[in-house]
Symmetry: C2
Subunit: 217 residues, 2 copies
DNA sequence: GTCTATAGTCGGATAGAC
DNA sequence: GTCTATCCGACTATAGAC
């Protein structure tokens, strides 16, 4: 492994700073300092503050894409098949479970913050994030949900349901302070992770059971 | 109705600016300008930028408290009773439904942004928000969930489950940009609201049904 | 590519007139 | 309580040496 280059360090630090402070709030001086380089190198490598911001968004999209590409691939196959609802349910569980681990893991905290902040008032960076990964995940997941519902559900309903499923996962990243205080936790270790995963899995099964039963009725 | 006083306008504008830009990112000059007053009046009324920030948090907590006090009251009574699980379920539905309307309504967008931002890295303002309202809501809601589970659920499990229920609602505020893009919506009007409420209600029933059935087993 | 120097703008705090 | 004037620090961008 070669040591991280200056522009790679800049991207990592930028995601952290922009995620915490936003585009306007973050300072290129502080970013350059934490990346052990000079402010003017941001101009040189990225053209300026805004260029660095968009590059950070692209970096996040690329990173996430390589992470979930296999899962996405598998989900795509299961949507194409006919009738294998158990496999579709397994794929939903895999995707939601994977996203839960991402939301709980501290390594992805900075990227999550960046993405969440972009939602508040979206810029060009949101477009890149959405078309890069988020949109594909939503499409796949809601297609799987629609398959479990077996045609009794409109596309819009399936997508709204998918949003609520994501919300169950999202809350542990977005409302982290409330979770920690409300649970009396100091950290999210193996025990806490297990409780969360178990709860989400149970909820998911309850919802999918009902969905399937409604189809049979 | 008397016209809003300068410090009242300052609080409203401050919640909006701080919610969008954070404590560091927001500018007292811009806040004062949008509130049709002078920067120095922030110093006079609130002691400075940080004082205004904390006053904004207190204002949010007070506003939310008056909003949900009746619901909280009713929930408290239902927790005290013995055995009336149907009433407990109705109370859960009422609380989640009320929170959904709050999350969807544009009037509360600024307050929601402020609260969500505080979660990213909590300050003293989070303590005030949590002890002011959020903690009470969590306590009530998880007590109701525990009642539906009928003693088969640990307190921690009930609270984690409560978090996921909140997540289903939260996602429509926090990931608003993803929701709008993913659904192809331009606004959240009556039709969209109805779809969301229906989905959340259905999910909630599925989860509570399973919880109750597990108790009976 | 790396680094210094500087221009020009905007930030919060404060003193003091009224 | 309201408003002006000012201080000083931090910011981005840019020109240019090396």
């Amino acid at each position: 492994m070669s040591p991280p280059s200056a522009d790679s360090r800049l991207l990592d630090v930028a995601i952290d700073h922009f995620g915490r402070l936003g585009l306007e709030g973050a300072s290129t001086r502080a970013i350059a300092r934490d990346a052990d380089t000079l402010m003017s190198s941001i101009t040189y490598h990225f053209g300026g503050k805004e260029g660095l911001y968009l590059a950070a968004a692209d970096h996040i999209a690329a990173h996430m894409h390589t992470q979930i590409a296999p899962t996405l691939e598998r989900a795509a196959q299961l949507c194409g098949d006919d009738g294998d609802i158990a496999a579709a349910r397994a794929a939903i569980h895999a995707m939601i479970g994977g996203m839960t681990m991402v939301m709980l893991h501290d390594d992805t905290a900075a990227m999550s913050r960046f993405i969440v902040r972009e939602q508040a008032d979206p810029t060009e960076a949101f477009t890149r994030l959405y078309s890069g990964v988020m949109g594909q995940m939503l499409d796949r997941l809601s297609a799987l949900v629609a398959r479990v519902a077996g045609g009794r559900m409109s596309d819009a309903d399936a997508r709204v349901l998918t949003m609520t499923l994501l919300g169950q996962v999202l809350v542990f990243r977005v409302a982290r302070a409330t979770v920690m205080t409300g649970m009396g936790w100091n950290a999210i270790g193996p025990a806490e992770t297990a409780t969360i995963i178990r709860t989400i899995t149970t909820n998911l099964d309850a919802i999918l059971d009902q969905l399937q039963a409604g189809d049979a009725a």
